[in-house]
Symmetry: C2
Subunit: 461 residues, 2 copies
């Protein structure tokens, strides 16, 4: 039986500290130069050398101001603040690469659907079909205020808004220009057939759009869709919309269960579970030997900034960890998406009871997820275990950039290639969706709602 | 007396047909490849070789559907439809260039102020201070519908909205992070001083923002501000906000008068008239001899697409030229900005009465403005006349890309350099604003409203 290959995304963010609190002060972490395009272009080239499938850029609009009730700690420690726009890094990286995919996060408060649909279509052209969108609904109250609201709409309503936002942009991507609309008839001076360009109408509760899409059909039309919802409502949303679903969990078995649940949800909502690829968040610390990897880990751990970690954890969970006794035991309380994930860790690991301090240490070195530490062979073994538990791939976060990616690419990737788990070459000229699903699959497949909109529009007489 | 140097912007758009209706069918026009980054990266390199100051990217959200009451002609002839996002071209061009500035058009309906302010700040970093924003209020009803309105707000209200939009983004750029907010103290693990990062509050009629800017202070903070308002309200807006004002007019004397009026308006609103640089829209057809240039012009003229030109003209003016007798005489009626400009031509040129057909021919070969035709020396003479009439520079549009720019750069630029009218070298490491105003002027100067916001915020005890 052929082993399933694993998909590899690098996980980063256009800021100084993504999920490695405190480590920006190291001379070998170059994220203090996040404002320079060279840092990103070099990263894209490195990832392409390592045969990564995509670079996935996180984003957040709003600030981590839950810890001690202010953004003081986040600002002091550069914890996702400042945070520059991720989308604007992509064109320069796309021009310097041929195969790497680019996913970026954009929330439903950030851009009106009409503008956002054009941004994506333009990027899909500029990357030659290598673009993905990570759909988020925001979790920071400060984001709501930044966009003129009293705060965020509640959790359920945000997902209703996201459903509607998706519907509006799907229409623009799929239901405005027919596949044969552009004719480029130089002899007759006809670029497009106007009869094959339709107005889109979306008259919803949260969004209204009327007009044709401004962009002709791009290689993928609808971008590859990423989603990371972890609450029940979020999982339902992912089951409906996601092509790549992201999971956070401490062990292969725990995440394997999440994946099994997602596949069931997908089936229940009428989709083919194989159309949803499952990725686990992961940090990896590796070296020539286990000892060398352990030394690196200890070195990183010693530089973790506690306040920075607590700013992240408090922002994600909505709970002010600054008010809690470090020795207090953590109990599982399901309230919102991130809280579920984080407390899920405490619940899932039966080896000991977790305290607030444990969570701080955990988040400090791992960010929102687990850290694998070991020799290149040991890491390869563990990643295979995760894949065998039902995963399709990983979002690999870093402790330092580009060092963590370099270690992985120079050390672990060759081992995984040897084992038939990582691709040795990219397919020629393939779109990102083709890389994930195979040749001829550039467009999103039915019965995904975007594909259904396409089918319903163009099958009409 | 030293001659004043002239500033040169290239004027283009992320689409097949910007202002050269019909010419996309030529084998030597590469705008059919507008979706490929190489076209843009090569253009940026060419312009930098020609010592241009900036590439200025037009944009429109909405379609040209006034002509014959539909977008049929525009879609058929690729007249600014499809039109991809301009901003996303800039990072790739910035990475491939060192000195060229990049201005792009963004309307107040397109992005919420909080998102837009971050996009600009990010671009200002990625270009190392070479970014400019062309502020527009939209003139197509279809743009309003695309953003969930019944149509556009009326002309006066759009400018009120634009005033407020500017105020909101100025606050984010100038009044959130102090110049000394970022300390990057590696020893103490302190990236920024939280006490020097303020929340911005904008609680206006049209826009509401509350929160700190997500981006640390970029090289220019407020981007270089472009504006092209031509109506009385538009001119007043430009006098208040613009650093570079754009004009359309048939002759040096006519535009010289516009410039004089703008300088008066600027003085009246308390600004230094020298802080507003005036650019004229211009097309140039040149060759080794006048005859060669004429032949090129006739060649282009023969390929003009009438419907495409009328789609543009009808969209700009809001008048359906498809309803008018081609032999009807044009009379001057001041209604909106573009109408004023276009009819201004007919009014300003006393040599003959203009008919609808004249306007079509004019727009077909010139787009929204005049065409200079001649040998390199003749063109240089004419451009000097324009500068001597009070202009500071030109927005040079093309008939074909990159050919029109190539002809100008290889033929006219050396002549103008010889005459001390075009820079022979760029200053090292200067921001765009320094290139325009001189060393040390990276930040916008008082009493511009953005600079006043900065001063009022940071002079507080």
């Amino acid at each position: 039986m052929t082993k399933r290959r694993m998909f590899l995304n690098a996980f980063s963010m256009n800021c100084v500290v993504h999920q490695s609190p405190g480590l920006w002060v190291r001379a070998d972490d170059r994220m203090v130069d996040y404002k320079h395009l060279d840092v990103w272009v070099n990263l894209a080239k490195l990832l392409e050398r390592g045969k990564f499938d995509a670079l996935f850029l996180a984003d957040v609009v709003g600030v981590y101001d839950v810890f001690r009730g202010s953004r003081e700690a986040a600002a002091r420690t550069a914890t996702q603040l400042p945070v520059n726009d991720p989308m604007l890094l992509i064109p320069a990286m796309a021009h310097a690469s041929e195969h790497l995919g680019f996913g970026f996060t954009s929330g439903i408060l950030q851009y009106p659907p009409y503008s956002f649909a054009r941004l994506i279509s333009t990027l899909d052209f500029l990357t030659k079909g290598r673009i993905a969108w990570n759909i988020v609904t925001s979790y920071l109250e400060s984001a709501g205020r930044a966009y003129g609201r009293e705060g965020l709409p509640d959790h359920e309503e945000r997902y209703e808004m996201a459903d509607e936002y998706c519907e509006a942009v799907y229409k623009l991507w799929e239901a405005s220009w027919a596949d044969d609309a552009v004719v480029k008839d130089v002899e007759r001076g006809i670029y497009a057939n106007p009869a094959r360009i339709l107005d889109v109408t979306h008259d919803g509760r949260y969004y209204k759009v009327k007009g044709c899409h401004l962009t002709e059909p791009s290689p993928q039309r609808t971008p590859v869709l990423f989603q990371a919802g972890a609450s029940p409502r979020g999982r339902a949303f992912a089951a409906k919309h996601a092509e790549c679903a992201f999971f956070l969990g401490p062990t292969a078995n725990v995440v394997g269960q999440y994946v099994a649940d997602m596949r069931q949800l997908a089936s229940a909502s009428g989709r083919n579970p194989d159309d949803i690829l499952s990725f686990a968040y992961m940090k990896i610390v590796t070296g020539g030997t286990e000892q060398e990897a352990r030394r690196k880990y200890d070195d990183y751990f010693a530089q973790v900034n506690y306040d920075s970690a607590m700013a992240l954890m408090s922002g994600w969970s909505g709970l002010d960890f600054g008010q809690l006794d470090p020795d207090m035991k953590i109990e599982y309380v399901e309230t919102n998406a991130m809280r579920t994930m984080l407390y899920g860790f405490a619940k899932a690991d039966p080896s000991h009871e977790w305290t607030v301090r444990d969570v701080a240490n955990f988040a400090g070195i791992g960010g929102a997820g687990p850290v694998l530490v070991g020799s290149t062979e040991q890491i390869a073994d563990q990643l295979e275990d995760w894949i065998d538990a039902g995963l399709d791939g990983f979002n690999i976060a870093y402790n330092i950039t580009p060092g963590s990616f370099q270690d992985f690419i120079d050390g672990v990737v060759p081992v995984l290639q040897q084992r038939g788990r990582v691709q040795k070459d990219y397919g020629e000229g393939a779109t990102l969706r083709e890389k994930l699903y195979g040749p001829g699959r550039s467009r999103i497949a039915r019965p995904h709602p975007a594909a259904e909109i396409h089918a319903a529009t163009w099958s009409r007489p």
